[in-house]
């Protein structure tokens, strides 16, 4: 069997692994990326593609997105392969007075955190799209939000990484891993031979706990399933990303005033025009293990929710549906961190539905962590692995 050595081994060829590979290789480190399947064959190709601050908790969470937006804007200029980048902003729409009041406080808090948010009234909503339901009261806008194609972004980052010398090994599953207590080197067994690495980054997404378990780590990530409908754009419905305000409630597990099925499946409207002239409709949130089969009852519910917000697109055509698994953590923040008990072992996973949004900032930060830099691009405390130490049972 072959044996190869590498300075940094990244486990996971999704968007997170891609961004880490790009920034580490660019900084001059020697990098190898392995994945059990293809590039972007898990969550990174079963999602939509946004760099959003609008749906992040005001403060650290939304700041992290804003920094990521700046990095992606730079990446759109420095990477060779196009990834359908555009920055038209995004909006949330409200269907009740209560939501309007909550939206106002959301806007105030985001503005205090230094982000470009503003309220929209009934007229603004009408201007946004003639297809909206007449009874929508208003909403809010985040000006800086941007949109990309998630798998093309991943391909583009890997293309950039390999130009800086990164090696990518596909269909190369981790079969076992150990750490030599004398040398501190990691030995990783794969079907393509043994890899000896000085540093390991676990960017395994929903499979990160499985990889972590090989060295006795308990990583609190669970798959949270979501569905998306791809629809054909007969007429332009809207130019930018739209979400219902209830999406925030569903994301953060708060109470909503919706029917039983909508609540059970965590269905909240998301609309996203793509560059291909189609549009994507979401969303749902369920804990149902690793099952990626499309559940038609959930799709049925999403279609009804769509018609509630866009009654006039009832006769538009659904081309296909798909589902993916978000890597959920108990506090909705990712883990981007060294692991104290295992020197030179790092985790970059658990971004739930924010993996595309936060990939760039994660890649940049992980590169700084791998180089033991003290001044990092964002504070690292809220996303440290050790914050879960005292959590004995993880509640979903």
């Amino acid at each position: 069997m072959d044996s190869r050595n590498t300075e940094v081994l990244i486990i996971g060829g999704g968007v997170i692994g891609a961004a880490i590979a790009y920034y580490t290789a660019k900084s001059g480190m020697e990098v190898t990326v392995i994945d059990k399947g293809d590039i972007a064959s898990g969550t990174s190709s079963r999602c939509d593609g946004n760099i959003l601050a609008i749906d992040k908790e005001p403060g650290f969470d939304s700041q992290m997105s804003l920094e990521s937006q700046k990095l992606v804007d730079q990446l759109s200029k420095e990477l060779d392969l196009d990834f359908e980048y555009r920055a038209p902003g995004s909006i949330l729409v409200c269907e009740s007075e209560d939501e309007m009041i909550a939206a106002e406080s959301w806007v105030e808090r985001q503005k205090k955190a230094g982000l470009s948010f503003k309220m929209l009234d009934r007229n603004d909503i009408k201007q946004e799209s003639p297809y909206f339901a007449d009874d929508l009261l208003g909403g809010l806008e985040c000006e800086t939000d941007s949109t990309i194609n998630p798998y093309l972004f991943t391909y583009s980052l890997f293309h950039g990484a390999t130009k800086y010398g990164a090696k990518v090994m596909l269909r190369c599953e981790v079969e076992g891993m150990s750490r030599d207590s004398v040398t501190g080197l990691f030995k990783v067994n794969t079907p393509k031979g043994e890899i000896i690495a000085k540093k390991v980054v676990n960017a395994g997404g929903i499979w990160a706990p499985y990889i972590g378990n090989m060295l006795g780590l308990d990583i609190p990530i669970k798959p949270r399933k979501g569905h998306i409908i791809v629809a054909s754009r007969d007429m332009p419905v809207g130019m930018r990303k739209v979400m219902e305000f209830g999406y925030l409630m569903s994301k953060f597990g708060k109470e909503r005033t919706v029917d039983e099925e909508t609540d059970k499946y965590g269905v909240a409207l998301v609309f996203e025009p793509t560059e291909s002239q189609n549009f994507l409709i979401g969303s749902s949130r369920q804990f149902v293990g690793f099952d990626t089969r499309v559940d038609m009852d959930v799709v049925n519910c999403i279609a009804r929710r769509t018609i509630r917000f866009y009654p006039k697109i009832a006769d538009f055509i659904i081309i296909r549906t798909y589902s993916g698994l978000r890597p959920w953590t108990p506090d909705h923040l990712p883990i981007v961190s060294p692991v104290e008990e295992i020197p030179n072992y790092y985790i970059a996973a658990g971004h739930e539905g924010d993996g595309i949004s936060l990939a760039a900032i994660t890649g940049k930060l992980m590169t700084e962590l791998l180089q033991d830099q003290i001044n990092t691009i964002i504070p690292t405390d809220p996303i440290r692995y050790s914050r879960f130490k005292n959590v004995s049972t993880i509640q979903t």
Partner: protein
């Protein structure tokens, strides 16, 4: 059939030339070829071009990559409207 301008995916207007060029430069799976070119991602759900895309992958890569990640099938089988999809079961 030497004319590489031949359209393979009618929905997304992807030519044989585009597919062959992409397959040769990335030596990738059918799935990656689909995602990079959009062949098979249009209105008909790949019913017209799926087998052709698969065979282009095999020819261009000389079977050097395993094709264990075939092109998937996504519901619905034929395009349907939001109103039909959203119908209540008891209606």
């Amino acid at each position: 059939m030497r004319d590489h301008k031949t359209i393979i995916c009618r929905c997304e207007e992807v030519s044989l030339e585009d597919l062959v060029r992409t397959a040769e430069s990335y030596r990738c799976s059918s799935r990656e070829l689909k995602l990079r070119t959009r062949a098979g991602m249009g209105q008909c759900g790949g019913r017209t071009c799926r087998a052709l895309v698969d065979s282009i992958t095999q020819k261009c890569t000389n079977d050097s990559t395993p094709h264990d990640i075939p092109l998937g099938y996504q519901a619905p089988i034929r395009p349907i409207t939001f109103s039909i999809m959203g119908e209540k079961k008891d209606e």
